[in-house]
């Protein structure tokens, strides 16, 4: 099992992925603009992708890279649907603050 790629230790890759993930998470929780939330979610996806690829290299197993591709396609689909929802919500409510869109509350 390799412990570093291109001279960078595996720990650093993982640290970067974690940082990216938490930045994304913080953005998704804290920001009220749906577009920014979507970008934050993309950030978390990419953090996960980075982790997948690093471990794929580390274990010499291609499954992680395949998963990364899957995540990219799912993210694309998700972005398309999410943007459509945002557009519809904007049309009906004339605002894009997610805290004001709570018609589905229990």
């Amino acid at each position: 099992m390799a412990t570093s790629f291109s001279g960078v230790p595996i720990f650093d890759y993982e640290a970067l992925a974690s940082v990216l993930f938490f930045i994304g998470l913080a953005g998704a929780i804290a920001r009220r603009n749906p577009l920014v939330m979507l970008m934050s979610i993309e950030l978390m996806f990419n953090a996960a992708n980075l982790a997948f690829i690093v471990f794929s290299r580390a274990w010499l197993n291609n499954a992680g890279q395949i998963f990364a591709f899957l995540v990219i396609t799912v993210a694309a689909a998700e972005a398309a649907i999410a943007l459509a929802i945002v557009v519809v919500v904007f049309r009906s409510a004339q605002q894009v603050d997610v805290d004001d869109v709570r018609v589905l509350h229990g």
Binding site: I29, R102, V103, G106
Partner: protein
Amino acid sequence: MMFGCCMANPEHIMGVVGSYPLLIALWLLPLLGAVLCWAFGPQLQRAAGWLATVIAFAAFACTLASWGAGTQSLNGALGADQPLVRWMPGFHLGLLLDPLSLLWACIITGVGALIHLYSIGYMEGDSAFARFFAYMNFFLFAMLTLVLSDNFVGLLIGWGLVGLASYFLIGFWFHKPSAVAAARKAFVINVAGDVGIMFAIFLIVQKTGSIGFGNAFAAADTYGPTLLLAICISLFIGAAAKSAQVPLHTWLPDAMEGPTPVSALIHAATMVTAGVYLIARCAPLWSHDGNAQLLVGTIGGVTALVGAVLGMVQWDIKRILAYSTMSQIGYMIMGVGVGAYEAGVAHFFTHAFFKAQLFLGSGLIIHALSNEQDVRRMGGLRKRLPFAFIAMLVGVLAICGIPGLSGSFSKDAVIQGALDHGHPWLYAVGIVTAGMTAYYMFRMLFVTFFGRYRGDVDPSELGIRHPEFAGTAAHGDADAHESHHAPAWLMNVPVAVLIVPSIFAGWLLYGGANSPWHRFFDPQFGAASILHVPVSEMVTTLVTLACVALGILIAYLRYGTATARDNAVERLRRETVGMWPILTNAFYIDVALDAIFVKTSEALGRLVSRVLDPHVVDGAVREAAITAQWSGALVRSLQTGLVRAYAVFLAVGIACFAAFYAFHGVH
């Protein structure tokens, strides 16, 4: 036992095939009459009465024609006995004619036919004339079912149907709330009695696997004391309810709400004596159980006494007769209870005549006085209604037991029978009751027929606070009634015919062991029933007679002397006002029964339908629903609608998973 010879071997119970069609005709004719009168009542109108009467007489003719079949069976055969209806496997219903059922059938159809004839006159002009005769014929059918059945289920069917007929006829004038209440009371108490018989059937079927009399009696000595006593008590509950024995007698006085011919036929001559029939029929069971005999004899004696005591304080002429009926049936039950079957049955026989005559006589008075029933508002009717006076006089003399008339033979035979079978206390009760009977009967006679007519006196002067029986209130269609009177002979002939057996029927008992009565019933009861008649037992006769004379004397001094007659209004007022509440309320037995059974079950019903059902049973279900709703509300509050809150929940959840695996490792 002596019944072994009669009933032990089922093959001895042979059908008398020749008379069988006759028996079926006798049984079904009244049903046909009832159906015709009911279905074609509006078309038949007055003819309905004649149709029903002719059918009753035809049934009587059939009974007489089948006489031979019921008595020829000397060697203990029960008479005609063939399965008629295949009810279910092992249970067949059939008819039987033996001396006992023959006697009852004779009285039912004979006295019944006379009362039908009388009713044509009495019910003239009633708007439901045809319906009345449909019910009367239906009653005959039901009563014949009761006495002609060769098994307990048939008997129970008849038992229930006579109760139904009685219910319809007590409540015949159903727009009167008091009649409706009386009918319901009679029916419910009688159903309680039916249930007693039902229970006896269950026990008998469990033991013998059969419902036939023959099998049940043949196995009498195999029952064991406990079961036998249970069967006898269950049967007696039925007998007590039907025959108005203490404490189930309270329906009988109220039953006088029915038309007077009904009181004569059902509530004096026939239906109320069904209990006597039942015990006489089940004689093989009773003869095996001294405790049951003691119980039944005692209750019979108590009823005789209570009926007589209450009869002494009544003012309604029909209620006087009703309590007297209760008292006389007490005698009969005492007779058959202690084992003096022939004497008890004989008293039924004579009582049917003189009591029917008394009731029909009172009906003549009530009819003539436009439905007045209160003796205080009568008086002096001897001259106005001489025929009714003679009829009532003969009846009163017969019931009092004046020697030579029918009542003396049978009553003294019952009293003597109590002593012969070892019940001196019942003997004493019988003698005292005879004196009291004489008192209240002569009281009625003096107040009704002697002195001055008091119908025009203001009721309050007589101490009558609620003149409920006055005038038209008692009768259904008084207006129509007044307009066209039926010929008097329609009502007088049956009464006149009844006078003959009222006087002479008792002579059948003359001669004790050699009497025609004993010879007739020997195959039925064998040696079990010792028949002593008054002439051979002079002591009993003399003591009873002394008591009777005393009763008549007191009645004469209180109501019959010239002074008493002249001051009748004042006397009656004082007696009415000063009467003890315990007597006017009939020992509060009615109130007690009401409190114990009616009030309790109604309270339970209210508890169930107002508390248990909505709050406890349904409450449990509702609690479950409320819990589901409440937990739903709890979980629902998490669903805030804030997307970012969901994101936090998600993050926390992931953190929890991560923490879990961090501490425990992946595996």
